[in-house]
């Protein structure tokens, strides 16, 4: 289990990374768009702030490097080239993976440090030398490829005997011995550097001395985020290796060639090493924070632009100082403070207060330098004690407007199931009302039950609507992935493509949205890979070099429709026919008779691929047939239209919701009830018996101009129907259905009503039964079997 803070971080970080990537892509399309650069920068910046709360140094470094690059882009120091976008996206991807790792196990997997270093280096390599924040603040700017010369070498004498001998041994092999002094920038931790690991890869390290550039401050003034270390290295590695290793911080190192004599001389000079840490004196100084805050108040007044501004600031300063003096047990100073404040208010000037600050700060400085015994014990005391747990018993004050709840999907799903049951159960009330009247002879009771039913019915319907609305997601959920996909694929293939997305607000049930993702990715990949021509080919046919892929979603009745169209070369029916012939999908005879549209539809056949060479992008053995299967399983349809030379459109139509299925009920087998999904049904007709004709053993009838085969549902389901004498008027009830693009007449006993049902799939030992999509419970308690016509034919 992760802590709530970490959980919050995981959720927020995911959103931030996603937002950053989306804004970055928007920025790449519209270079210089201020809103986008600010959005991507702020996302990364906020992420950096949040991750700093946790101990994920690899993560923090990478985010920091990303921020530096973005900062340089924002400041106009570098332009956002596709390479820079690549590096940033790689970093975002990695951050996304780390977030998953943190989510799963609360920690980063092994190797994160290495990954982080590589990606950080890659990002930093994208920075111009002067935009490197460490470089900008470096004390001695030098040429950016060569290190400065090191002059002070007295520290060599402090090296341990063994190290010096190792260096001498290397020197006696004829290698040049170098002394390197590396002083990282004090804020290097914030720019993602890790000084020690930086030179770890050095091929030779004879000696290493780490000390500080200045005396170590006392422990309570020590800022662990500031690096005051100095690294001194003796190495036999070539200069080029060192300069390459330190190339991003080249201004922070100095190199000197040392002779064996210098090493030997140092032995005799024998000055002690510079590295001993001064031991912090045990003196309890006056609380450093109190002094820092008082200094802050002085700065606040000093930085006021106008006199009125200064007076405006005095109010908060007065409040803080009196609080501070009280809580720091310096009440003795309160009197002089109030005097200064009174004076300041009377004369409307900040001077008396600033003067008081100066006096007070000076007196603290002298107190601090006095002997420990004279320091009042309370001065070390005001450091607050930290309690980290038990927020109980304190007023809980969490009021927030418009809060968005993030709810586990499973909870919404279970609500959906419950409302389904409720809808079905309430349907038993009309039967109850009927019984009350007919069996128990109470007409009044019957009426009352009907009244109650009307109320429950309305509530149940509203509730169902509300729950369905919770599950409705905008298609943008899936569309968000496309800009990245199109960018990556088109860059890889060297094609110029503009992606146009329309109607991303169109909403559909979450199940539908979930189904859409992979098929759409596949279709778009196909369009870019096979549909769009190379820029030079486009130019040859007089098209604009930049192709367009348009993804458009809209609602059409109770369907959500998504069109993916491109303005590429279109599908060549002849090529398709040839390919299908070669693969044995159709024979020559059939090929000759196929219309162009029928030929195009062949792409839906399993194992069909038109590309002559299988690319690593779309031709991975996953064809359009998989797309069709996935979409049809969700109750949708796929259609392809194509014009040679002008482009291809793939249209996915899906029901808005999978939760409620509209079926028509029919009677067959002498009183058995079956449901048939409404989207299969073309029409219902009554056919006179004498209009039914026979072709060999099959029955057919003529519907307007076409011959439609007739299938008796009883035969289809293998039901031994009781002897049936027809419905009295010598007519067959025929349900005309679409199955796989063909019309079929299904002969049933009777048509019954259409209804909305909550479909439950067959499960358990029935899961393998073919021919049925599932079952639904009817209001009177009967079970309705819903037919899967595709499996039956």
């Amino acid at each position: 289990m992760n802590s709530p803070l970490l959980d919050r971080f995981v959720g927020e970080a995911r959103d931030l990374v996603q937002g950053a990537a989306a804004a970055l892509l928007a920025l790449e399309r519209q270079p210089g768009d201020e809103a986008s650069i600010n959005a991507v920068f702020r996302s990364v910046h906020t992420l950096k702030g949040s991750v700093g709360l946790f101990d994920f140094p690899a993560f923090t470094k990478l985010v920091h490097a990303g921020e530096d690059l973005l900062s340089a882009v924002r400041a106009g120091q570098v332009t956002l080239t596709p390479e820079r976008v690549d590096r940033l996206l790689e970093a975002f991807d990695q951050v996304g993976r780390w977030i998953d790792e943190i989510d799963a196990g609360g920690a980063l997997l092994d190797g994160a440090v290495g990954i982080s270093r590589d990606l950080t280096m890659a990002l930093r390599a994208m920075l111009p030398a002067q935009a490197d924040p460490a470089g900008a603040r470096a004390a001695n700017p030098t040429a950016d490829t060569a290190a400065a010369t090191l002059t002070a070498l007295d520290w060599l004498g402090g090296l341990p005997e063994a190290d010096r001998l190792a260096a001498l041994a290397a020197a006696s092999n004829g290698r040049e011995i170098l002394a390197v002094e590396y002083v990282p920038a004090t804020d290097c931790f914030f720019s993602g550097e890790d000084p020690l690991t930086l030179f770890r890869p050095l091929s030779s390290l004879c000696a290493l001395v780490i000390d500080s550039t200045a005396a170590w401050p006392q422990s309570d003034a020590l800022d662990p985020y500031q690096c005051i270390l100095r690294f001194r290295i003796v190495t036999a590695a070539p200069r080029s290796e060192i300069e390459s290793l330190f190339r991003y911080v080249i201004e922070q190192i100095k190199i000197a060639v040392i002779t064996p004599n210098q090493l030997r001389a140092a032995v005799t000079a024998g000055s002690p090493g510079a590295g001993a840490l001064p031991i912090a004196s045990p003196v309890a100084a006056p609380s450093a924070m109190v002094i820092r805050i008082i200094e802050g108040q002085r700065t606040l007044l000093a930085t006021a632009r106008t006199a009125t501004d200064r007076m405006d600031r005095l109010a908060s300063v007065a409040r803080i100082v009196s609080n501070l003096l009280t809580v720091a047990d310096r009440e003795a100073d309160l009197t002089s403070w109030s005097d200064a404040m009174a004076l300041a208010r009377r004369d409307e000037t900040g001077h008396p207060v600033v003067a008081w600050f100066d006096r007070w700060l000076e007196s603290q400085a002298t107190t601090a330098s006095q002997t420990p015994a004279e320091t009042p014990p309370s001065q070390g005391g005001p450091r607050p004690r930290i309690e980290t747990a038990d927020p109980e018993g304190r007023p809980d004050n969490r009021v927030s407007a418009n809060r968005i709840l993030k709810v586990d999907q499973a909870k919404v799903d279970s609500l959906m199931n419950l409302i389904g049951e409720l809808v079905v159960s309430k349907n038993s009330l009309p039967f109850l009302a009927k019984r009350a009247d007919e069996v128990h002879g109470s007409r009044e009771m019957s009426r009352e039950i009907k009244d109650v039913y009307a109320v429950i019915d309305r509530l149940a319907q509203e509730m169902q609507g509300a729950i369905m609305a919770i599950r409705m997601l905008p298609v943008s959920e899936v569309f968000e992935r496309f800009p990245r996909l199109v960018r990556d694929v088109s860059r890889k293939l060297g094609k110029h493509i503009a992606l146009v997305i329309e109607g991303e607000d169109t909403a559909a049930d979450k199940n539908i949205i979930e189904v859409l993702g992979d098929p759409l990715l596949h279709i778009i990949r196909n369009a870019i890979d096979h549909g769009i021509e190379k820029p030079e080919d486009r130019a040859a046919t007089g098209k604009a070099p930049e192709a367009t892929v348009r993804v458009k979603a809209f609602q059409d009745g109770d369907q959500v429709v998504i069109d993916v169209s491109d303005d590429g070369r279109g599908i060549d029916p002849e090529k398709i026919k040839a390919s299908a012939l070669a693969k044995g999908i159709i024979d020559a005879d059939r090929a000759a008779r196929l219309s162009d549209q029928e030929a195009v539809n062949l792409v839906f056949y399993p194992g069909f691929s038109t590309a002559e060479t299988v690319s690593d992008l779309s031709g991975r053995g996953v064809g359009m047939d998989v797309v069709v299967t996935t979409i049809e399983r969700a109750g949708g349809t796929v259609a392809v239209t194509s014009r040679r030379g002008q482009g291809t459109t793939v249209r996915l139509s899906l029901p808005l919701s999978m939760a409620v299925t509209r079926v028509m009920t029919v009677e067959a087998g002498g009183g058995m009830l079956f449901g048939i999904p409404m989207d299969h049904i073309a029409e219902t007709v009554r056919v006179r018996r004498d209009a039914v004709q026979r072709i060999k053993t099959s029955e057919v009838f003529v519907l307007r101009d076409s011959v439609v085969p007739l299938v008796r549902l009883d035969n289809l389901l293998g039901i031994d129907a009781p002897i049936w004498f027809g419905n009295g008027d010598d007519e067959e009830a025929v349900l005309v259905v679409h199955v796989g693009g063909n019309l079929i007449g299904l002969v049933v006993d009777h048509f019954r009503e259409g209804m909305d049902i909550i479909l439950k799939p067959l499960n358990g030992i029935l899961a393998g039964v073919r021919g049925y999509i599932g079952t639904a419970l009817l209001g009177d308690g009967r079970v309705l079997l819903v037919l899967n016509l595709k499996e039956l034919f």
């Binding site: 606040l300 908060s316 300063v317 047990d329 309370s378």
Partner: protein
């Protein structure tokens, strides 16, 4: 001389109110958990506009304001606070990932009483909040 128990008086009894203004939800949860554990009542705002409105609506003993925020950044919010006679006496501390002198001076110029640098240690945050509001940790 008898030693005075340093935390004997002014216990943080839940009467001190802190407004945290930060667009990062993780940061807000961090402030909330640390400050509530130290006995503060915590209110949150996600940007400068919301922060300014909350500051006007009810009194606070301390505001902790992030610099880089959407809609209205920390500097603008501070300037708005200091220009408003009703709320200008409220102490305000900015927090930012930028630790350079320029950034610190900019915060003071905008009217901050103090500044913190992210990532801020739990201990430092509590200490600053206690000292500025005159509260003692429980």
């Amino acid at each position: 001389m008898s030693r005075v128990e340093p935390f004997a008086r002014n216990p943080n009894d839940g009467s001190k109110r802190v407004l945290v203004v930060d667009d990062g939800t993780t940061m807000r949860l961090f402030y909330r958990s640390v400050l509530e554990a130290a006995g503060f009542v915590v209110e949150e705002a996600a940007n400068g506009v919301e922060g300014y409105e909350k500051a006007l609506a009810q009194p606070f003993d301390l505001m902790i304001i992030d610099i880089n925020m959407p809609k209205m950044d920390g500097y603008s919010m501070l300037r708005a606070i200091r220009a408003d006679a009703a709320v200008r006496a409220t102490p305000a501390v900015t927090i930012s990932t930028e630790a350079g002198d320029k950034d610190v001076i900019k915060a003071f110029e905008a009217g901050a009483n103090f500044y913190m640098v992210k990532p801020v240690a739990t201990r430092e945050l509590t200490e600053i909040a206690c000292l500025i509001t005159g509260a003692r940790p429980q």
